[in-house]
């Protein structure tokens, strides 16, 4: 059965349709084209013709025009709209016309770089010209690096390598810096939060060096659909950009099916799990030979689903190569192989985390199954975009989990279908991040009196501070680096933690092999001792976690369960920035806090039935994060009136409500913020509800929340009051089992008092 037939069949299946909350058909869209502009180097035209390209889509043509006018541009395009042409054409054209010209390409991951380079190679080879394109990243052999530095016309790299491998050694890259014409940054929507704030500072450093070498590069940025591409781009590069966001590429018909698993326990409001449903739907696609991608939110779910699907297609020898798992932590070679398998049709089904959301070329798939809401509208569309490229029917299934946000989406599909996607927020002046990069900048090139660092206001204060600390040495109007450290090695752009854990399979004592890696924050959750670690559906038990050496040793096992760790969070106050008395007698505060995370125990959960088989203890050091927080205290006279158990349930309900409401009004992903409640808070000594930025240093969400603190509470009250459940459910204050029978009532009562 093909997709159209399958869709037809499902629509006649009443059993299936009773749980479908919406079946949206997005009609096919024709192409809008424009001729090649005159300033395009004529040598490019035959190569494009060979690829069947005889004109440009309108957004490509407009980009080229704006670039020709010397503007910095941001192109917003969905998956598969030919956005690479928006930068490859002007870059190749410029190098063809002046072979000294250089371009720098930045992609968020190595995988994307590899992909783009192969596309560029093809075009360059097709023209038979000598334009050297090199990837420069951690995998570039030392012997090849010299050639890249000297001769690379187009240097393809990632922000991390630019930060630690190129900028601090800029004197080896004279040719590039002196002749840098274009800086291309793709997938800029991924540069939000910490990563984006870091990149913005890396770019400040880059531009400072360009100025030293006398070059004035132009920026070409590309983004997937987000609410604020122009704002994001301008914050990233600190300059005004021209936005091009009309998509001229064609698209085939697309079905978008919202599916809410049936309720299995009405009293407790418990629904059938999303995983078994996903298993069934992805399995159905697999059986019908419809090439599909299944997205799951966690690495664990990816592994569980991969195993289920592999079991369906295993041949007598146990091989199930048609089904593959894909997530961060797989080694590059394995990933390339899976990507290739998807393109050439050898892989029928892939189960992935959002790692495959980005523009890695895996060809056009027919179907996409989302097991749970990926957290943002932008992500959801990125994932959905994996199914269906330019022509032919495609289908997307959204399977809601019992999480409140999923329930909200599945019951309000218009939120996803019509609402503008989220803002991508970043804060280049986050002091933690700014200071680190400022040190790097001072290392790279001494600051002189009166110099500026990008558009940051605090250059002079930073210089004075570092001078005081003895890190800089002020003499004759210049600040010289005078410390032994190599400051770039102290920052990791993607998270607070600098080092990744490597995962070593010791099943065969003669051949220990590295099978993957994991970031420092996640490692305690998934790699604690006795955890079942899954890799491509195979089970391993963690034998030893060497926390100091950042190594986990695992051994192959075959057990009927997986493990899930419990995370304990502790908060302490570092500094109060603002405190306000509320009209109701409570206090609203804003400040810096320290969040300490500790994994203390884990559950063993049986496959298929998902029942808890037992517990285990974990002994690991804590991980710390400094961030920004805002909080509400309950007025004393109000709290005093309510018995403490009931108060606790009510506060838990409010926290749950805020977790639903805040991402919607702060326009961020749910994982970007955390909401906790403390009946007697060590921070305020009162019953307190705290919201904090879930990224080191914070990216400004708490500040934004402080500005709309009354609105957030009134929206929380509205969600609770609008929800038809009697005593609470996952879509409002949380299930009765958690908040108790009086939880919802108390939450509403407290919120009414707080918003009076």
């Amino acid at each position: 059965m093909n997709v159209a037939q399958l869709a037809e069949q499902l629509r006649r299946d009443n059993q299936f349709m009773k749980d479908v909350t919406r079946w949206e058909v997005i009609p096919a869209r024709p192409a809008k084209t424009a001729p090649f502009p005159d300033n395009l180097d004529p040598r490019l035209i035959p190569v494009l013709a060979q690829r069947g390209i005889h004109s440009l889509y309108t957004h490509q043509a407009k980009s080229l025009e704006a670039i020709a006018r010397g503007e910095d541009v941001t192109v917003v395009t969905p998956t598969a709209s030919g956005k690479t042409m928006c930068y490859n054409l002007p870059v190749l054209s410029a190098i063809l016309q002046n072979e000294d010209s250089r371009a720098l390409y930045l992609f968020p991951t190595k995988a994307l770089s590899a992909d783009q380079v192969s596309e560029l190679y093809d075009m360059i080879e097709g023209m038979g010209v000598d334009i050297k394109t090199y990837t420069y990243d951690g995998d570039t052999p030392a012997a090849a690096r010299r050639a890249v530095r000297q001769a690379g016309h187009i240097v393809v790299t990632n922000p991390d390598m630019l930060h630690s491998g190129i900028l601090p050694h800029h004197t080896k890259w004279v040719k590039l810096f002196e002749n840098l014409r274009y800086i291309v940054i793709d997938e800029i929507h991924t540069y939000r939060g910490v990563f984006g704030s870091n990149l913005a500072n890396v770019l400040r450093r880059l531009m400072r060096l360009c100025e030293f070498y006398g070059s004035h590069p132009q920026f070409i940025l590309c983004s997937a659909t987000i609410a604020n591409p122009k704002e994001l781009a301008e914050t990233l590069i600190g300059r005004t950009v021209t936005l091009i966001d009309e998509n001229g590429a064609p698209m085939g018909e697309r079905h978008f099916v919202f599916y809410n698993p049936p309720v299995v326990n009405r009293q407790l409001g418990i629904r059938q799990g999303a995983i078994p449903i996903t298993r069934a739907i992805s399995g159905m696609l697999l059986k019908n030979g419809i090439q599909a991608i299944t997205f799951a939110r966690s690495r664990l779910t990816v592994e569980v689903l991969t195993r289920y699907l592999k079991d369906m297609v295993r041949d007598p020898l146990g091989n199930a190569g048609k089904v593959r798992g894909y997530r961060g932590g797989y080694l590059p070679g394995e990933r390339r192989e899976i990507e290739k398998g998807l393109r050439n049709g050898q892989v029928d089904a892939v189960v992935s985390t959002n790692a495959l959301e980005l523009g890695i070329d895996i060809g056009a798939l027919d179907a996409c199954v989302m097991c749970g809401y990926p957290g943002t509208i932008a992500s959801a569309w990125q994932q959905a975009g994996r199914a269906g490229r330019r022509k032919g029917t495609s289908i997307v299934f959204f399977i809601a989990s019992s999480a409140a946000i999923d329930q909200y989406i599945v019951n309000h599909p218009d939120y996803l279908l019509t609402q503008s996607p989220e803002n991508a927020l970043l804060n280049p002046d986050n002091l933690y991040i700014l200071l680190s990069h400022f040190k790097c900048a001072a290392f790279e090139l001494p600051f002189a009196d009166g110099d500026k660092f990008g558009n940051t206001q605090s250059t002079q204060e930073l210089l004075d501070y570092l001078d005081e600390q003895g890190i800089l040495h002020h003499v004759d109007g210049r600040y010289h680096w005078s410390a032994e450290d190599f400051p770039a090695s102290e920052i990791s752009l993607r998270s607070a933690a600098a080092e990744n854990f490597i995962i070593i399979d010791i099943t065969d004592p003669a051949h220990h092999r590295v099978v993957g890696e994991m970031d420092r924050f996640t490692a305690p959750m998934l790699l604690h001792e006795n955890a079942i670690y899954m890799h491509e559906g195979r089970q391993f038990q963690v034998e030893k976690l060497d926390f100091d050496a950042c190594k986990a040793f695992i051994r192959s096992v075959d057990v009927g369960y997986y493990t899930d760790a419990d995370l304990n969070i502790n908060l302490s106050l570092l500094d109060i920035e603002k405190e306000e008395q509320t009209p109701q007698g409570g206090i609203a505060g804003l400040g810096e806090i320290k969040v300490t995370a500790l994994v203390t125990m884990f559950k063993k959960i049986k496959f298929d039935t998902h029942e808890t088989l037992g517990f285990g203890h974990v002994q690991l050091p804590e991980t710390d994060m400094h961030t920004t927080s805002m909080w509400w205290t309950l007025p004393e006279k109000l709290a005093a009136k309510i018995p403490s158990d009931q108060l606790k349930n009510g506060m838990m309900g409010i926290a749950n409500l805020l977790r639903i409401v805040c991402p919607l009004y702060l326009m961020c992903a749910p994982q970007d913020i955390a909401v906790v409640y403390q009946v007697k808070s060590p921070i305020t000594n009162e019953p307190t509800i705290l919201l904090y930025d879930n990224t080191p240093g914070g990216i400004g969400l708490s500040h934004k929340a402080f500005g709309m603190k009354e609105l957030l509470l009134s929206k929380a009250l509205q969600v609770a009051e609008d929800c038809p459940c009697a005593y609470g459910c996952p879509s409002c204050v949380g299930p009765v089992g958690e908040v108790g029978e009086d939880g919802k009532r108390t939450a509403i009562r407290l919120l009414k008092e707080l918003t009076k």
Binding site: H169, K172, F443, H480, W481, S482
Partner: protein, 380 residues
Amino acid sequence: MNLRDKLRAVGGTGGTRQSAPETEDRDCRHFAVYRPAEEFPGALELSRDTLALMSEKEMPEDFDPRRILYLDTETTGLGGSGTVAFLVGMGFLTDNGFEVHQFLMRDYPEEPYLLKHVAAGLGKFDVLCTFNGTTFDVPLLESRFLMNRMSRNCLDLPHLDLLHMCRRLWKLRLGRCNLGRLEEVVLGKPREDDLPGSEVPQRYFTYLKTKQISLLEDILKHNAQDIASLCVLLNHMAELYQHPEKIRFSEDVYSMGRALERVNQTEPARRCYRLASRGRMGDLASSALAVSYRRSGQREEAAEVWRQMIREGRGGVTPYVELAKYEEHVLRDIPEALRLTEQAIIRLSEPGFGQDDAVQADQNELQYRWQRLKRKLKEQ
């Protein structure tokens, strides 16, 4: 006045450091150290040909050992554009001994002056000699010239990096070849009270704050010693290249053989291999000798070496395999080739060889050879 003349004008006696007068209003600090000629035996006789062999590089036509500039830097870190060479020492031989001239920047604004002295110094010499300069000192100075918008052309001299040359001779025996270790083990002169290199940057930063020049005494001493050692080491190596029989360790003799073979000194290389074939390196040396013969087409000489190894029970299965090839392809004695292959198979299955993948692969190859020889024998 050019730098060399300036340096000359300073004058002085052996082994003492003295502060030279500053010739410009703003300049960096200059120190000069003079060492007596006796500390550098044979240094003035170093020949162009020997140096070419050692360095594997073309040397200038009118080569003169007095026109090698020995250079070493002391830096504020391990690299990257924020690392500065705050002290550059340059030494050279004269008819009377060895002079080291050290240029110290007392603060960052003096860096351009220091670099000017370095450029002027380099400009007076034909060959540059460093220890690990290819990866460290030269790129660092290049970076400094660039950061100060000065020309880097002065660094385009033929460059002898002693680290690479020393590794060829001593890596096999010593493993890591740093200058301190070479001085101790190869030259037999361990350094006493030497400042560890890792403490150098912090010393300098403390000096920057206090401006107490005495803090830098140790660094200046260390730097001057490093530079003098470069010259001694170079000449010591030259001596060994000319007289390999003076080498005491068989690892080093074998390494010398390899080094000589790289520069096509076939006969001297073979002499080294023969010398080494009696010691701990016997198997490697004999194999290398045989391979050397085979390469130059002296197949029978090569075979004789393999035969001798078999007679002495040395070298594992390699001599059998090599000899079998010779019997099969050159002498066309298939039965003898078959016999040798069988013996190799038997030897390889002896317990001493273990059973890992590499042995298994060898065993497979031998089996294949054996079957091929069997077929060939039948066809005859």
